[in-house]
Symmetry: C3
Subunit: 670 residues, 3 copies
């Protein structure tokens, strides 16, 4: 079953309006509505007194029209009666300031009293709705995140460290606290790496990042255990924030969940730029699908401008539907628009829903409704289909956290670098999973591990095994520099991966952003490839067993290797010491494809995505025109266009600006 | 009587010097001196012990030379004996930090102990000087401002809210606290919108802005009551900071005052730019005149560079006198230079007076002295004259505060937008009052309400009445979006003004500053007007009864209306959905003038102001050349040049750079 | 004896490695190693329990190979057992936030408990190593600095003020506290000038800057007294941070030390620019030599990239050796590379040593080793030689602190201005000392006092005496504006120097950085000199007895003097009212040289330094090619090249890029 619907806050509107809302939803083809998120004060107006009658009525009204309900636990926004006069329940920010009441996500995730209040409301909701036939899923809290540096967390961190290291000697050794006399002689001396402490010990800071990530995992588990115990038939999810969010290890967060969900807004007030990059959304979506290597839900699909204090650019006509189809193309099994009606009150007055403040259906509602009709026809064909990528990008939260602590360069960003590498595949319509360093890699032919900074023996073995068995691995600069406790390796980088790559890094130059260098491709397989521009970080490589693929053209390392390739077992390891963009990564990706013999998908104009889901052996092809021009796309094979019903047998199809085609293969491929 | 003088701090200099200072003041033609501001520690060296002897002597010395005295209460800078060891008397900043001693304006305006100390010093001063023949006016405190977020203020806010809303249900409804579970169940749960709380509920934040504004009004009242009771013959004022200051509702602040006063510095260390914009000063001055719709005093007219840590650009020769005449032209009945002698000590060492640190009369003193002689001749002609504008610009502090909370766009500023609209009138020498939303508008022909975001039924009725009776109203984007409690209206914007304007706003696009659009004027009355460039915010309009005046040329709303005009009753309402500058507003202003049949004043080169005051039926014309070039100006009618004595009968007059002419009409007009 | 070595932290590495480290050091020609800095937790693992056995072994191992040891006291990084749970021992930052544990330099320099702990560890070290034959010197703490604003410091400040001013009346008068009612009636009312207090009283702020500087001087004395008493044969130093560090009066700090030491890093993460300016290092070095007017040690000579969170650019091949020779050329008698081996742990993981993380000798080790061999040959010739400059630049910490409080202009910097004036001499290879305002100036022919803002009668007399006796003095804008307590002088600037200069400053214009003016040299002696560009600050000068040397070309002071020269006694005082760069200062420096008849040293291409040390009457010439091109240099006289052994008799020598020549004069000059 494919789910299509909206997020709805009936408690914020007069009950007299609900019927009309329900009618409009049904008319738009909705079969799911998310409810109750942020409604703590309404469900529990004072400690221990519950009122679910309004929610019962809202569910009933929707259920009558055939809609199912997903319930959110409301713990992202505690009511005043819980928080007022209790500063210890509030987070302390990195700068040392205690948060005060007035927004959401104020809470310290480790405070036992907050845990107790959480258990009470979640247990009450679970008891009420476990057996409700219309309630088909749960969402815990909303968009977990934000590190806390309060005394409660510091004490919990000390206890967590005691579990992890057992002895202070082990901890002192692991962090190298002898540096600057930080040797701890009592667990309770250990601080949090708040800004007031200045540049911290990297080992302590990495462990704190892990601890805070784990604190949210543990806080989620507290709710999950109640829901799993009481509501075994209803899957439980949490709504994540895509690829860019970097404060929680999402692999850990989703492990015990039944389902991954995504909130994603291509246009929002924090990025006023007019250009919406489809590769950016695509990476968010592929990351969500990769987290559990299964399809996911979109709990918040953009329904209008996204603004708090600032307005975002308005989604252009056609964009909302286009983006919703992009979600589906990349693995969404549910699309829920956020939100139904634009709130008249509160911080999110300008975070627009499908209906305007005045309740009028907007042009955005019309778009959703058009799509609702399409989904009614398509849903059964899509449901159950999935992507089957041969390429994996390895996302290491340990490395990401390590670069937060020591970014290396003002213009280097793990996130941005990852995005650039992703883009090289995306541009070629090569489907990718985003996977954890410990992931089973046997189904992949190419693995890319961008800036894999923190490497453990297990990770190294995983990669060695992959390459030895015939895979092509692409590693980039700063790989293998750090061990699990954020010590610099005592081998030449890439450390535990040096033998696999047949290369050693002699040094890593760092130059201002306005300077650049050029690399020349000298591998015979890359003959004729134009030079690529590189910048910011420049590793000087010393090949041991590797062959040189590209060299620097300038500076004191002119002629020295910038990229190498090493034959290892049945496979190849490509090491990229220079930081580049498409002109560097594009040729390397194509080389990797040639080395593996993978088929090359059709490629259309820039801004046109061709994405595949498989329904058993049958291919479903989504063609998405993100541009403002009409685009023609030629696809080998015979298809039926599910939106128009047209048969396509080799001839190019033409898509209007921001238009979509969903094609199903006429005959399954071998 | 026209007052001309300086601000003087005799307590900061050896008494032996006072006589020479008095002599130089008299020689410069001064008839007023402001004293005692900031002299708390000198007048009350310890709690309850007063020393006014020095002040008596200073006043006597000035009075002997024929000068009158304005006294300032010293409460803007409390002495150490009052503040030391009393952190609760200090303000808490928006970021949550408590201010410490060392500057001025440290105090929390709501603390009862500060109030008590204030009453003591003000009562002592009032008792001493109520009957002093030389003391002719009082100034309370100095430049009120700066919001406080301390516990005292939070408690006072809660009490203020209880008065305003009576019940928590009413408050929760008015603010829409159901959003994110902010429903308050006890008054003492309500927080201040400090930065530690993140983006606040807009209703709470707007009420806090009003409450803090009211706190200063109430603190001023505390002093005013003492002064009014004890010194009934001496008018009381407070020195305000012109148009740009945006933390206090100045209409509220001046309501109970006898007189409005202005401090204004075209050149200061916070704006190092070399270009001094006469339209900027003019708006400050017109705002001051508009506050009570009566003439005002300039308590601080720039006397030299303005600097604390940084030096400002030096006022160019002629500028001080030019600016002083600009003050008079726009309605000043007193010009008091700040300050007499440049302080050798303290934070304001580089905020220059007429005398240098070494007591030598500077070129600036020479300029003031020249003007003193002129004023001796002119004063009687000027005194009692006033401006009589037919245009009003509506200044809504509620809207201004609402945009502080939700600015909509990094490049949108209520203040800057207001200035741009003002400039279109100023450039055409069309005199304007700056008035409150509730002002009686019957004397105006054109009313402009820039970005009138918060609209109450009373405001809407005021505007409807104005237009129905034949006025021309110009409204701009984001009008009528919010109600009194900062909820978004449940009608299409401009909400309560939609019928008056005959238009509805479908959406408001927001694009980066580097993007722009163009509007084409299509109203027949604007035929031939060149296209105007617009940017930042773009409303898409749907006319109901209005005619389309201009349309967008690009983007998905190309061809859709950007400006409309609606005939309503006897008048017209122009709605401007696009944010522009002179090329947009100029044609609209000229259209409005044509619609009303108002006479068009003469216009000279850019940078040359022609400003009128009326003495009964006789016109006084001030011609101010703000440019660095000589400028010729032709004026219809017959005048006498009061500075040169020349008779002018139709021929152009030529002004040297930074020169001024003050013309009096030879024969009164009908 | 010339010392050459490295900073070594044996406690951070397995003892098994020490022997190999010692071998490599000896092989590199090291004769000194610095130890124990930051090793508090290792030497005193708990309060009062000491462990020096490891240090004994490390020293012994080095001594066996003929190396001497310098010991650092470890007080820059207190161990957790001392600091945990004791917030009052931590500094409070300028913004009012208390520092927390996690980096170094956390401590409040005035806390008695920190003093007590300091005494205990220093006394224990002194007792242990006073008589150790290998231990030849001590370094106290590391890089003193960072002001504290805690209650302990505020109370100490109040006590310090009581000593300084004796009475509150005197203090109130000295600071001019009557301004804004800051009159203190009790010592304990006096605050620190923290950011929460806003722009402070300049007198209070300057005294606080002095007090904090003195606090570190006093804290250093506490250690110095113990070391001097117990270890009389071992000289004691502290490692300073060159010219740019501006929080401590270094003249005060070094007064009681036996030796000045420098840490200096031309490439570091806080300045990513690729251009390394040799004039910048040269000023740092000349400042260190000037502090006590004796040679100094470099305790930290850059050994690789300098990075904490960010990587610096890698030192280019040859740079480390070049910079080390530059240190020697300017007066270093010891060069100690920081550090031996790059730390695997802690904040400074990317602050590279001569060995990489993996212990492999890097190309940087090879450079040091090459130099070690050279030093073995050169050392005896160099040792005991010194510079004998005829030019002094006067560094006034009082003025520097005063500009921190009131910078005058966002683009004006005392430090940058000083550097520009220094550059004019450096470019001409004119050797300079950097001296204090009270320095004995009799050995100099030219004295430059950049922006000598704070002038006391004693300083004025010192300068008058110098000029009267025939010296040439160059003063620049804002000289003599302030007295000792940061009051503005009650005379026209340059105040106490006005008669000496024969000039008065009428005003000081300040314009935005994008504006500029031009000065025309009109003195006959400067005929033909091209115009110079000036900006930011523009003083308008009124000569009393001086002649005009240059005038402004534009603005309202066009034609008015910008530079003057005054004959006074046997000498000349040049006053420069305009702020310029090389095109302004170069001609003035050359004029000053002509006026004094000083010989003009040879000058090579830009980026090539020619620096002299004298060994008795014999000249040692260091020629340093800082450029990336080969450079030819012609030197009059006959020399032996100490590195190549070649004899040079008038022919030009050619230096490869980043190459060095050390020449010794064949026959001593007269």
């Amino acid at each position: 079953m494919f789910y299509f619907g909206a997020d709805y806050y009936p408690e914020q509107w007069p009950e007299a309006r609900w019927t009309e809302d329900g009618r409009l939803m049904a008319e738009a083809g909705f079969n799911i509505v998310r409810l109750a998120e942020f409604a703590w004060a309404t469900m529990e107006p004072e400690a221990g007194r519950f009122d679910f009658a309004w929610l019962d009525r809202a569910i009933a009204l929707l259920a009558e029209r055939g809609m199912k309900v997903m319930l959110g636990t409301p713990t992202a926004s505690p009511p005043p009666w819980l928080m007022a006069g209790r500063p210890e329940l509030f987070r302390v920010r990195h700068d040392g300031e205690r948060v005060t009441f007035g927004n959401r996500r104020e809470y310290c995730p480790n405070h036992p009293d907050y845990h107790a209040a959480t258990r009470r409301i979640v247990a009450a909701m679970a008891a009420r709705y476990a057996d409700h036939p219309a309630v088909i899923a749960w969402q815990i809290d909303n968009e977990f995140g934000d590190r806390c540096y309060c005394p409660t967390c510091i004490a919990a961190f000390q206890a967590w460290l005691r579990q992890r290291y057992d002895s202070l000697d082990a901890l002192n050794h692991a962090w190298g606290t002898i540096f600057w006399s930080h040797t701890y002689s009592d667990w309770d001396q250990i601080p949090a790496p708040a800004a007031t402490g200045g540049s911290p010990n990297p080992g302590l800071a990495l462990d704190y990042a892990r601890f805070m990530s784990n604190s949210y995992v543990a806080y989620q588990r507290l709710q999950l255990e109640i829901l799993h115990a009481r509501c075994p038939r209803q899957p439980v999810t949490h709504n994540l924030m895509g690829f860019n969010y970097d404060q929680i290890n999402y692999f850990d967060l989703v492990r015990e969940l039944d389902l991954v969900s995504l909130n994603y807004y291509p246009r929002n007030q924090w990025d006023l730029s007019t250009v919406v990059d489809p590769a950016h959304s695509a990476l968010a979506l592929d990351t969500m699908r990769g987290l559990k290597r299964q399809n996911f839900w979109v709990t918040e699909q953009q329904a209008g401008q996204g603004g708090w204090e600032m307005l975002s650019a308005a989604p252009r006509p056609g964009e909302l539907r286009l983006w919703a189809y992009q979600s589906i193309a990349h693995g969404a099994d549910a699309v829920i628009f956020f939100r139904w009606r634009t709130a008249r009150a509160g911080t999110e007055q300008y975070w627009f829903g499908l209906l305007d403040h005045d309740a009028r259906p907007s042009r955005r509602y019309a778009e959703a409704k058009r799509m609702g009709a399409e989904i009614a026809a398509l849903g059964a064909t899509i449901a159950g289909s999935s992507a089957q990528p041969s390429v994996a990008l390895m996302l290491s939260y340990d490395s990401r956290f390590a670069f937060q602590i020591q970014p290396h360069h003002p213009q280097f960003s793990y996130t941005g670098h990852f995005q650039e590498l992703y883009r090289a595949f995306h541009r070629r319509n090569l489907a990718t999973d985003v996977v954890a360093p410990a992931a089973d890699l046997t189904s992949y032919r190419i693995v890319v591990a961008p800036a894999l900074h923190v490497v453990t023996p297990a990770i190294a073995e995983n990669l060695v095994r992959f390459v030895a068995a015939g895979g092509v691995l692409i590693l980039t600069q700063r790989a293998g520099v750090k061990d699990e406790t954020n010590l610099v390796t005592d081998r030449r980088p890439p450390g535990l991966l040096a033998e696999l790559c047949g290369v050693e890094v002699e040094e890593c130059d760092a130059l201002p952003a306005e300077v650049s260098n050029t690399v020349e491709f000298i591998a015979p397989e890359l003959a004729g490839t134009p030079d690529a521009e590189v910048g910011v970080l420049y590793e000087v490589l010393h090949p041991t067993t590797a062959a040189v693929a590209a060299t620097y053209r300038r500076d004191y390392y002119a002629g020295r290797p910038a990229v190498t390739i090493n034959r290892y077992g049945e496979g190849h390891a490509i090491y990229v010491g220079a930081l580049g963009r498409g002109d560097l990564y594009g040729p390397l990706v194509e080389w990797a494809v040639r080395l593996t013999g993978l088929p090359r998908p059709p490629v259309a104009a820039a801004g046109v995505e061709i994405v595949e889901r498989r329904q058993g052996a049958r291919r479903l092809i989504f063609v998405l025109n993100h541009t403002e021009q009409a685009q023609s796309v030629g696809l080998p094979g015979r298809f039926t266009d599910l939106l128009t019903g047209a048969a396509i047998a080799g001839e190019a199809i033409t898509l209007a600006p921001r238009e979509v085609a969903v094609l199903v293969e006429s005959a399954p491929q071998a």
